[in-house]
């Protein structure tokens, strides 16, 4: 039952995308959208993923919302710090080995994505729970393994993806 509800939610989201792209709310477009959404969902579940869509990409909407809001403010905050660095010409960088508190693969990928989206940090590599991060010298959010372990605010949000 839960799987059916999850599939229906995805169908509605995909159909919404279809309607926006076609700029129409006509019944024919809704039906065509539902058809193509079902085909896309079936194809993805059947041929592209090892597990089905729900088990691979299950993210609570509340977590996604908090993640997006935090990321949005973090992008601008880091953006302004990056401008100061350009003006002062402070280009010292370091590579950090960082072990994340998150265990789920999707959570780690979202964290790596957020790190690269935040100006001043880029994820260089992922090996299990260990991330290699390129950062400006005074980066404080992600501390090296050698300096002790503190969960970053991103991880506090994404930890709820661990099941």
């Amino acid at each position: 039952m839960k799987k059916l509800i999850d599939n229906l939610v995805l169908l509605f989201i995909f159909t919404g995308f279809w309607l926006i792209l076609n700029e129409s709310l006509a019944l024919s477009q809704i039906l065509v959208g539902l058809f193509f959404s079902s085909v896309a969902l079936f194809f993805t579940n059947r041929y592209l993923l090892e597990n089905d869509y729900q088990s691979a990409y299950v993210v609570k909407s509340e977590v996604l919302f908090r993640y997006a809001i935090y990321l949005f403010f973090q992008i601008y905050r880091s953006g302004f710090f990056a401008i100061l660095k350009i003006l002062k010409c402070e280009d010292t960088v370091k590579i950090i080995e960082y072990e994340t508190c998150i265990h789920s693969d999707l959570g780690i990928c979202l964290l790596a994505n957020a790190i690269t989206l935040t100006p001043g940090t880029v994820t260089l590599g992922k090996n299990g729970r260990q991330l290699k991060i390129l950062a400006f010298a005074d980066e404080k959010s992600f501390t090296d393994i050698a300096e002790g372990k503190i969960c970053s605010p991103y991880e506090m949000i994404l930890r709820s993806l661990d099941r």
Binding site: I83, N113, V122, L134
Partner: protein, 100 residues
């Protein structure tokens, strides 16, 4: 008034991008340059898109811009990550002058 806010945001985005380009020229090292180019991509792009959404008002065009923004925000880090990772794996080292 709303249009003015939109134009202001687009102008701010262009300033962000211009500063990013200046950073690319001022920084000497590949790794510090890629950190700055990621800033141009993210902050500049996001701000310009917010400006365009406000300018479009509540319309299909605005929703399309939101979709594009969402897709780019998901895929944008991949290119930066791929370039930085390939450089790192190729043995490209941090310039001694800019190493911490």
């Amino acid at each position: 008034m709303i249009d003015l806010l939109a134009y202001l945001l687009v102008t701010i985005a262009l300033i962000f991008m211009a500063l990013g380009v200046i950073g690319l020229f001022r920084f000497k090292d590949f790794y510090s340059r890629i950190l700055i180019s990621a800033k141009i991509e993210t902050v500049g792009f996001l701000t310009i898109m917010i400006g365009l959404i406000i300018l479009s008002g509540f319309s299909y065009a605005a929703m399309k811009i939101m979709l594009i923004t969402l897709l780019v925000m998901i895929t944008n880090p991949l290119s930066t990550h791929a370039i930085a990772r390939s450089a790192f794996l190729s043995g490209y080292t941090i310039n001694q002058d800019t190493r911490l």
